[in-house]
Symmetry: C2
Subunit: 441 residues, 2 copies
């Protein structure tokens, strides 16, 4: 992509209302633009990252054997009255009357709707378990939206739901998502800690949050630091293995957030030298709530003994738009964002420092055509001065920079800069392709 | 994908409230489920088709040099008051008050919001033209939602917007989308006819609808039948060519829908033998409305002469969720859907007719593993009887069927059936891979 034909409205000033670094950098680098309080438009650079995260989340759901569907954003209030959550949900729920004066709402979550789909389709234990997910915009009318996409009102969430014949099988589904979530966050370059959690308005008595350590997080977290090592082998776990034993290893370490924290228990179980207390960002939350919705909404199946039974359910959420902010919080420096390779909007930033020099520009154009065949390249072909170009390419956080200056035409040499380490290196143009191929390994 | 672990709730009965064939087949084949009037959940089979269409639309936008962004679904009413469309839009607009009692709305279209993004980012003629698109759910509170996804309330639309320095350049952008749309529909296997159209609440005086012929369409269309041939070479047009001359060729044939139709002019310009009158389905609509929004919303740039000018704009929509229905309307028979290859949810339907026969099932399993490496395969491994299997695989419209019966183990032979032509052929299993590879060409 040539920067001259890209829509990248980089801001010179740091927006004064942004409190945390991810919010500042997302606004400054032209990733998002606020539409109204807690609601954002995603501009090309931001959308690219959002989609990469979404795709990784999707792939990991697919690998875990979950089927993708897509429920609408606008739901009928009747379903929520049936589950008796309509009044409970309070002002966070965006309530709407349509032109026929029917009560509708913008879905903050989808337990009711998926239960309705399930009960009209699945009638027999033979068709269980069913694991379904969707990736859709949600709305929660936060009293105080803040931190940009970290606590927005309209946000993108992956939510999955499981339906099982009994509580044993339901816990197997729960464990499957438990492992799937750890795999997903690992792929995103994040170390997420599973923590016993309260269930809030979703309900049930088994629940874990997945939290990444960050000083700007809203949750207080307490854990045995040895749990951090436990996740190192997560990629090697296959879903055909005994997942319960893996999950139990994580559960064997004390970890709890906010409300669930118990100081006495913490001191009793965890040796002082392993005790960790920090702030954290919640990036996922899983719930097992048995028959809470299926009973009241009559989501029954015929069991093998011919008796109707309420199915056992769980729900499993990952905040996809929030993850964009969370990744920036955990990967940046004073000059801007440092994207992990897997979610970087472009792999290579190609910077022409001498756009008015014909010879240099000829080399730059040729290199762009060459590299663009195999990699996602952002080519800064604009007529700005070098200072603007250097700070912009640092700000937007592309992992690998190729800087093309006067030596490109005089000595056939360009400079490589690694955004993360700031290490630079002169590269012969004839070796450049080779050099970049090796960056992958 | 094994059918036994897929969520495909096929209905035995034709739903009584579905008036048109696409609505009937989408419900029966478990592609969608109604959530409330005009609002649908997309189940796995339906979502797969929706995503394939979305990706083709996206690719063609990208090829045309349009940058993708994503605006939120919920917009502030203030923007619409600024453009003076807030009251005009009437009851089709879903109006919402949030918890702070601010007036919001669910976007039926995005001219205001994109103009707001533009005016805060682009200040100079040097950065024009700007072409931006997004693919997002919209809401129009139709008085009488019907025909399933063809006239739903919550629907998926690709809408693009162009910003140019003057009307000449703006018409070039318009022509670019004109050609892009024809290319897009051609790729989807649809013959779309561009027609002069009214502009309605969007405004402006230059507008075309893209309409496909269908007896279940809601529009009356009148055209010179020779325009149908004009599109045959659309794929060969490159965006670097003189697009105006191509567009003018289409415009040289009379074509008009509903309100724009003029009988006298039709008879005057088009010889009787070329006159066509039919029903049609609108699948795209493009508008050039000059400075209608930019003037009132102060979307100005500095021109080369240092004078501030209002930018000239256009907008360009494709109904993505509607296209799912439109494709079915134009490609089905009495047994069900016939998917064009490019949007088919699976390329191959592998049907094991003898799931209780160990030998046959062994062959079927092996073929599934083999074919699934290179193709999207739906493997019917369920224990239903052959009649159920045959009618289900026809109903869901997978282009190529491989039927595995007792001959698979006794004679190493399977049956191939082409869904479209109904032609069948016996294939030696040793030749099957080869045979299927050739189906691509």
């Amino acid at each position: 992509m040539k920067l001259s034909s890209y829509f990248l409205p980089v801001l010179k000033e740091t927006p004064s209302d942004a409190e945390i670094i991810s919010h500042k950098y997302m606004l400054r680098s032209g990733m998002i633009k606020q539409s109204s309080s807690g609601i954002y438009s995603w501009l090309p650079l931001g959308l690219k990252v959002l989609k990469k995260i979404e795709n990784i989340v999707r792939e990991e759901q697919d690998i875990a054997g979950v089927n993708e569907i897509l429920m609408p954003t606008i739901q009928p209030a009747d379903l929520w009255k049936e589950s008796e959550r309509y009044e409970d949900y309070g002002k966070e729920m965006l309530r709407i009357n349509d032109r026929q004066n029917r009560e509708m709402l913008y879905g903050p979550t989808n337990e009711e709707q998926i239960t309705d789909i399930f009960r009209s389709s699945i009638k027999s234990y033979k068709e269980l378990p069913q694991l379904l997910y969707h990736i859709q915009w949600k709305f929660r009318d936060e009293l105080r939206p803040r931190f940009g996409v970290m606590r927005g009102r309209e946000f993108l969430m992956k939510d999955a739901y499981s339906f099982d014949i009994d509580s044993i099988s339901s816990e197997e589904s729960y464990n499957r998502f438990f492992i799937c979530y750890l795999k997903t966050f690992e792929r995103l370059g994040l170390k997420a800690i599973p923590m016993a959690a309260d269930t809030g308005p979703i309900g049930g008595d088994l629940s874990h949050e997945f939290i990444i350590i960050s000083q700007t997080g809203e949750s207080d977290i307490y854990f045995d630091e040895r749990i951090l090592k436990e996740g190192d082998q997560i990629n090697k776990i296959d879903y055909s293995e005994d997942l319960a034993s893996h999950v139990n290893k994580f559960k064997s370490y004390y970890s709890a957030s906010d409300d669930k924290f118990n100081r006495e228990k913490f001191d009793e179980i965890v040796d002082r030298k392993y005790q960790m207390h920090s702030k954290g960002i919640e990036v996922g939350h899983i719930f097992n709530f048995g028959t809470k919705y299926s009973k009241i909404m009559k989501a029954n199946v015929l069991d093998s003994d011919g008796v109707e039974k309420s199915v056992h359910m769980g729900s499993y959420g990952i905040g996809i738009s929030r993850l964009v902010g969370a990744i920036i919080e955990s990967s940046h420096d004073e000059n801007g964002i440092i994207w992990p390779e897997v979610v970087a909007p472009f792999k290579i930033g190609l910077v022409n420092l001498k756009p008015k020099d014909e010879k240099v520009t000829k080399v730059a154009n040729e290199l762009y055509l060459l590299l663009n065949k195999n990699y996602e390249v952002l080519y800064d072909d604009k007529k700005d001065n070098p200072g603007v170009k250097f700070s912009r390419i640092d700000l937007i956080g592309i992992p690998h920079q190729i800087i093309i200056g006067s030596k490109a035409s005089s000595e056939n040499v360009v400079e490589y800069k690694n955004r993360k380490t700031s290490a630079t290196e002169l590269i012969k143009i004839s070796n450049l392709s080779n050099f970049i191929d090796k960056l992958n390994t």
